[in-house]
Point group: C2
């Protein structure tokens, strides 16, 4: 059997009717007689007719494909967001192409260009940590292509957005450390370009202030990435301070895991001497010794919600300028690395 490729014209010819009639019959158009409809449908089934989506795409200027742009896919965080997107979108007959910016503005821009060239119906974007100019995103808006930004904000870009309430999660985490007796709490922060990192840092400071603990800049370090490797150097630096911290709030689980490794290596007790808390609830986190306390984020839900907002715009008859910003709630998970 070769590529079947039965066309509507094939059916039309065999039945001695016009292609238009076949098309209408297949779409159950009221102006077609029942007799014709039945004949068409039967023959279509028999010949295994599959509509040529390429022709449809051209006609409708629509591809039923959305473009998803993320910094990377190898972390559980983003791959589970993608799962959420996929599970929402696939049942609607929509597919998705994925692009990884690798935290590079240039690559991000190129991906968006490519995706525009292939006429994606909409964009779901979480910008890279290097992205400071938003020209590429604004261009999407200007061309009236639906766009939803998720997880990481692009201030100044008016678009539907879906975030996690980072502030609340981080505040809870730090307050938990304080309540369990920690006073010299350090924070290994993320790149300040990231809204997520900024909100967590802000929450960290505010939580300390609320409890009358002085914010000490020596306790605030910035890491360049999100894997255990990136947690090593900052942690060593913290351990070298004359007033060693008694807790570390890390920007995410990856970094926290790196931190734990260094601390255990140094023979310092977790949580006896230093408590640790991460962010994201990576599936590995509960299997460390001690298991890592963390802040769970509704990643799958974030993917679903973002995709839902996007598809709403994509399917809207008229262009609705109203923008929606949604917030999802994280959850503190206390495990063994803190009291």
């Amino acid at each position: 059997m070769k590529r079947s490729n039965t066309t509507i014209t094939d059916i039309a010819e065999k039945l001695g009717v016009s292609p238009s009639t076949v098309s209408r019959a297949l779409h159950d158009h009221p102006a077609i007689s029942d007799k014709t409809k039945k004949a068409v449908v039967r023959l279509a089934r028999k010949l295994d007719y599959q509509p040529n989506l390429l022709a449809l795409n051209l006609l409708q200027k629509k591809t039923n494909t959305i473009g998803v742009v993320v910094p990377e896919i190898t972390s559980y965080f983003f791959s589970s967001i993608i799962n959420g997107i996929q599970d929402l979108v696939n049942p609607m007959g929509v597919n998705m192409v994925i692009g990884q910016s690798n935290e590079s503005y240039k690559e991000e821009k190129k991906i968006i260009q490519t995706f525009r060239a292939i006429n994606v119906d909409g964009f779901l974007i979480s910008p890279s940590s290097k992205t400071k100019k938003f020209d590429h995103l604004l261009a999407i808006k200007e061309n009236n292509i639906p766009l939803v930004i998720f997880d990481r904000d692009c201030e100044g870009v008016e678009a539907d957005k879906v975030f996690v309430d980072e502030y609340s999660g981080a505040f809870q985490a730090v307050e938990h450390l304080i309540k369990t007796g920690c006073r010299r709490i350090a924070h290994i922060a993320g790149p300040p370009t990231l809204s997520t990192a900024r909100h967590r840092l802000k929450a960290y400071k505010n939580a300390l202030e609320k409890h009358k603990i002085k914010v000490d800049d020596d306790y605030i370090l910035t890491c360049k990435g999100f894997t255990p490797k990136h947690g090593i150097a900052p942690t060593k630096q913290l351990l070298g301070l004359e007033k060693c911290p008694d807790a570390i709030f890390a920007i995410n689980d990856g970094v926290a895991i790196g931190a734990m490794y260094v601390i255990k290596e140094a023979g310092v007790k977790i949580p006896g001497q230093i408590s640790i808390i991460g962010f994201d609830d990576d599936p590995h986190s509960s299997y460390f010794k001690p298991s890592l306390s963390t802040v769970w984020q509704p990643t799958y839900e974030m993917g679903m919600l973002s995709a839902r907002l996007l598809m709403k715009k994509v399917n809207a008859k008229s262009h609705d300028p109203k923008i929606r910003v949604e917030s999802l709630f994280p959850e503190l998970i206390i495990r063994g690395s803190s009291f």
Copy 2:
């Protein structure tokens, strides 16, 4: 600015020539005069002409999109394979749609159906662990759609294939355990439907036999999945044996991590009393205490190579029935969980 959508006809009209001339001019066709070419190219640039890929797709019955079908994307293993695919394919102007079977034959079949409907130019597939019938894959072959199977074999399906030499990796791992003094070596195996799991099991047995160690069925357990959670129960069972093993070779790092957790919890020393070795070299593995010995697999390279084979078929002028089967080599990485 609305969607620009300058067409070749727009340019033709403004220049008072025919669309064909514009098309040829843009493709540097020899029959077009330099004067016309220059005028066309200049105006095209000025109007920011972008060829309409949808029209091209229809004309060429080609989408420059490939379909990638994997069991899941949340593991590092598959997501880094996807990275390799992406990095090979994107520079060629080819995009990829991803489908996750979630280890379900039914979902896998559905994904393939969808991808065929959107006319992907080729398939890159790693079958689910439940896939025993290959009708959906054979249908791809029958319709002459290029197909490359990677990592997990589908015996009986004649297609290009790219594997890792599981046998060699597993054999090295087990032999390493033997050479470091272990004699009661257990294996937590994967689902026997998976070629990868079968090869590792085979290598395990052969390595034991080579060193005159009796294969004991009590030491061979099967797990249902690849995350730490799936390592818990089998490990508990092993610890409960009257002759507790002195080493565990786990099907992958995920399961090994679960095993380590249980063993540490039980107060048994790693590697003093039990050595552990995993498979995959998950990025987390080196940060556990002890760090996990494992077998590294060239996942990124596997993705690249698979994609390279696929694109070769996709771009081939004539249908070449010759099939290629490639093998990549894994590497034993000794860390702290074994001597």
